[in-house]
Amino acid sequence: MLKELLNQDTAPHATNVLVGKLGDVLIRAVGKPFDMAINWGRIYSLWPVHLETACCSVEFGAASSPRYDVERFGIIEAFGSLRQCDLIVVMGTITRKMAPRLRMVYDQMPDPKYVIAMGACAITGGLYFDSYNVLPGIDGILPVDVYVPGCPPRPETLIQGCMLLQEKIKRTKAK
């Protein structure tokens, strides 16, 4: 990789590409001990996108209320700008009208990004399994990290799902 950069013919011309490649080289070089440090930084600053898709958003709101207060676990309450977010909590039913928008939102988020499917409707279609306008789960359009079951899930369940996600991030290799 380093050879690639040093060689005159294959070296990238644009500065940002060069910096990106240098970053890759650096991550390779520092290796495993820094993975832990990077992941530790990531798990306590998860910013969810504010995309309400159905009725589970009520319980998501309750999760940041004084009684449950997800902020103490490092998950900040829903945030407006998706360009600065790294977590998307799919709150409930995805209809056929919402599905392209959900994918658009996901595509615009910067890497690394994580997906939590909240509620029975987001997992399998739930109560609306036979409705003509509801997708049977979001697996078809988004790669889901954690499933949080319930209709709607209690805030405690959502908090547990978030902690599972943190556990998962801790164990993955930092990109």
Binding site: T95, R96, K97, F129, D130, S131, Y132, N133
Partner: protein, 218 residues
């Protein structure tokens, strides 16, 4: 589409036979059934008790007013406590609605709903009208219904399934009529903005609330 309706009819026939059978077997072992229901603590009275209810006078006077004005053009289906329902032909519906607004003092529409009747090849459009201004009409709902022809292969917007819009009479029907258009394919003539409202933009199937539109696994 036609096969779908036939199927529907077949299903209905079989269920009717079933219910007949059940009633026969019930009469055979009535004592047993009664005991069973009593043990479970269930009510054995028929589903719908046939009690003749007195026709309320105030509602009757309203219904008389409208039927004396329009005569054959309007048919009063029922007069119950707080509820009146009348059916009219779609050509007359604007005149009737204007009369209801100006003379009977109903001033807004609560809902516009369609009901699909594939057997008689008609779709019914019902306006539920209420009043805020008149003190006496506070608890009244006037259901004004009309019937439009229904086509087996619908082409919303360009087939015969159309009726005059009441948007100029009751302004509040605007979004309700748009919903009725996409869900039943009933085109409202004279409506300024007859677009889709709730369904996805790329919806290419028949209007979903028609009876021949079957949902998954049913």
């Amino acid at each position: 589409m036609s096969s779908g309706t036939e199927k529907d009819v077949e299903v209905k026939d079989t269920t009717e036979e079933h219910s007949e059978n059940i009633t026969k077997s019930d009469s055979m072992s009535k004592g047993e059934a009664k005991k069973f229901y009593e043990e479970k603590g269930l009510d054995l009275s028929p589903d719908v008790p046939v009690k003749p209810k007195p026709i309320p006078t105030f509602e009757k006077s309203l219904a008389d007013k409208i039927s004396s004005k329009f005569g054959d053009k309007i048919h009063v289906d029922y007069v119950r406590a707080d509820r009146i329902r009348a059916t009219t032909k779609r050509e007359d519906i604007v005149d009737v609605a204007k009369f209801i607004r100006d003379e009977l003092k109903y001033d807004h529409a609560e809902s516009v709903s369609g009901v699909d009747y594939p057997d008689s090849s008609e779709i019914e459009v019902i306006y539920h009208l209420g009043s805020y201004t008149d003190e006496k009409l506070g608890r009244q709902i006037f259901a004004l219904a009309t019937r439009v022809p229904r086509e087996d292969i619908p082409n919303p917007g360009s087939d015969a399934t159309r009726t005059p819009s009441l948007r100029d009479v009751f302004y509040s029907v605007e979004f309700h009529e748009r919903e009725c258009f996409e869900m039943f394919g009933v085109y409202f003539e004279g409506h300024p903005d007859m677009r889709r409202l709730l369904l996805p933009e790329d919806w290419a199937d028949i209007p979903p609330f028609r009876k021949d539109f079957k949902i998954k696994g049913r």
